[in-house]
Symmetry: C2
Subunit: 362 residues, 2 copies
């Protein structure tokens, strides 16, 4: 026989106190029909009075339900920011394995109009219980969101947000603010208000991502407000013609030998870092985004000075947790979750990789 009972409040206790069967209490808790008004009142009273908190683990165990989460991300290469997001999601799913959660990731081509909607439709056809998406443009994303809302499937946005589409939650960085912060740091590096070059990545004649544009806006805003004397150059690379990158830089620096400070708002700071390494130019001050392996290498070798990270692993993890808490634990969800803007240099990088590893290995 068991003694030493837990002092948890159980359904049984409530039933006893209210003078009804456990079935009735159960029905009230789950808002199911089949309960008279009077019983309902009684039970709700006791429920509140005893501040009943169900044991969600026992609940999940008993319900024996399975959950399918779906995720829609941009197509990406192995070595990428998005990989870390996926790793974070997979890690979280692993943590919740006893709740029968499955994750299905599919991809869309962010440069092909219609791709998002097409993949979105396919995804919805599988009737997932919850959805995570990195939204495309508002127009592209709209139709998928409408279908989700119609079917009452909760969805969270990751990386970038479209407020008007009203997701359950959003996890990502404020690009504008991160550009603003980057400017503060860069302005410290740019002594005597020396000029700065902005390296950009162009796809089909326009900036490759919204993030890139928003960060640059934030950056320019800070410069405008605080050190308008800094002259800003722009240098464009073309996604489709990476073989020209070196020539582009060579020409630029020939024409502007006085420029000794640069920043890029995409994740490819290593293009510049590796070039400097190659031509053996020291002391060019450089900032960029995201802890890609090649960026980290440049950081450690000193060809990139600072990287701003946006915690992709945490983002992925948090999105899964969000759906989990909403669907299984039925908690309140915070709608906007901006990730911290973290500055990383040679001197503190190890402790980020450490946290990274920790997240991925346990």
């Amino acid at each position: 026989m068991r003694e030493n009972k837990s002092e948890r409040i159980r359904i049984k206790d409530i039933a006893l106190k209210a003078g009804v069967s456990v079935g009735t209490v159960d029905r009230v808790i789950h808002g199911r029909s089949g309960v008279s008004e009077s019983s309902k009142k009684k039970v709700e009273e006791i429920l509140k009075q005893m501040n009943y908190q169900p044991n969600m683990y026992a609940s999940a165990l008993a319900s024996n339900k399975k959950y399918n989460f779906s995720c829609l991300l941009p197509l990406h290469t192995q070595e990428d920011y998005w990989m870390d997001i996926e790793a974070g999601m997979r890690h979280a799913v692993g943590m919740y394995k006893d709740f029968n959660i499955r994750l299905n990731i599919s991809y869309y081509d962010q440069y092909e109009s219609g791709s998002f909607a097409k993949e979105g439709k396919k995804m919805i056809a599988t009737m997932p219980d919850g959805v995570i998406m990195a939204p495309s443009s508002e127009d592209e994303t709209m139709s998928t969101v409408l279908q989700l809302k119609e079917k009452n499937i909760p969805f969270v946005f990751i990386d970038s947000n479209i407020r008007s589409l009203n997701p359950l939650s959003f996890y990502g960085q404020s690009s504008h603010s991160s550009g603003y912060f980057a400017a503060r740091i860069l302005s410290l590096m740019a002594e005597h208000n020396e000029p700065v070059v902005i390296f950009r990545l162009i796809y089909d004649g326009r900036l490759g991502s919204n993030q890139q544009r928003n960060r640059e806006e934030g950056f320019r805003e800070y410069i405008q407000n605080n050190c308008p004397d800094i002259k800003l150059y722009e240098l464009n690379f073309y996604v489709k013609n990476p073989e020209n990158n070196d020539k582009i830089m060579e020409d630029f620096f020939l024409a502007h030998p006085e420029v000794n400070c640069g920043i890029t708002f995409n994740s490819k700071a290593y293009i510049i870092g590796e070039y400097m390494q190659k031509i053996n130019r020291k002391g060019f001050k450089m900032m960029g985004y995201d802890l890609l392996r090649r960026n980290v290498k440049c950081l450690k070798e000193g060809t990139v000075d600072f990287i701003i990270a946006q915690q992709p692993t945490e983002q992925g993890q948090s999105c899964i947790e969000c759906l989990f808490e909403h669907l299984i634990l039925k908690k309140e969800i915070k709608a906007y979750n901006y990730m911290p803007i973290t500055l990383i240099s040679k001197e503190n990088i190890d402790f980020y990789l450490d946290a990274h590893l920790r997240t991925n290995n346990i």
Copy 2:
């Protein structure tokens, strides 16, 4: 009747496959006696072959055990770094409430020799299942650790580490590295290698904490290696005589009007920030540690430029998680967990407070 069974591997399956009773499987899993060698072999075989992962939530539910965690921290005021650590621990305990975990926090006086050992003894007398401690000096901590080891009670160190005492795990920041990193940032602020003043907090004739000393060492190491021309002044405040602080600064800046840049390795950067505010001196460049409310205020008002944070909330949370995973989930534990060294300024502070809030509210 239930259909749609989970495809989890259950004890029953193992028993079926191995041709033994569930009781036997159970005994093998828990390493209990009462199993013949042959049965044990059989079960272990099947166990491995099927890669059995027990459902820890069901397990916790069935075992119905209670866990008492104890925590020993330095005495502190309400408005402090340690408060955030406590908040993090409380939050984590709340998350695990369905596992019957209780947390008991007690305090020692870090300035009174013998206090740690005394409080440690009291704590151990309550026979906790796991312990979290912010260690005092090695000598002071030793006796408590020996008792814990004897009783086989796992303990984790928080904030600072003593490797030789071999804790289950450590969560905290590398003070040396964080000083080193601080130097990199400060050297960017100190134009033309201008001089820098180090503000210190003295207690009974020596530095108030190990953290303070280690950070300063790291700081000096960077300066030595990278910009030895920067002249470093020191300015001491006395914990017991805070009323003299203003006079001390006044005298110093009168004697050294050229000093326009400072740093402190304790959490009281606001002493300087608020002084600058008071005498209405603008443009003094200042760095410090920890997101105390008064520091945040200085940051936002511009009297402190940068703060290095050490994620106290996460530290507290992680310590509880660590004990939880060790005792209940029986996972492998990573021994050293250095927290990221994060740089915070007016421009990115909001996103840290946000994360902070998130952690504390959900």
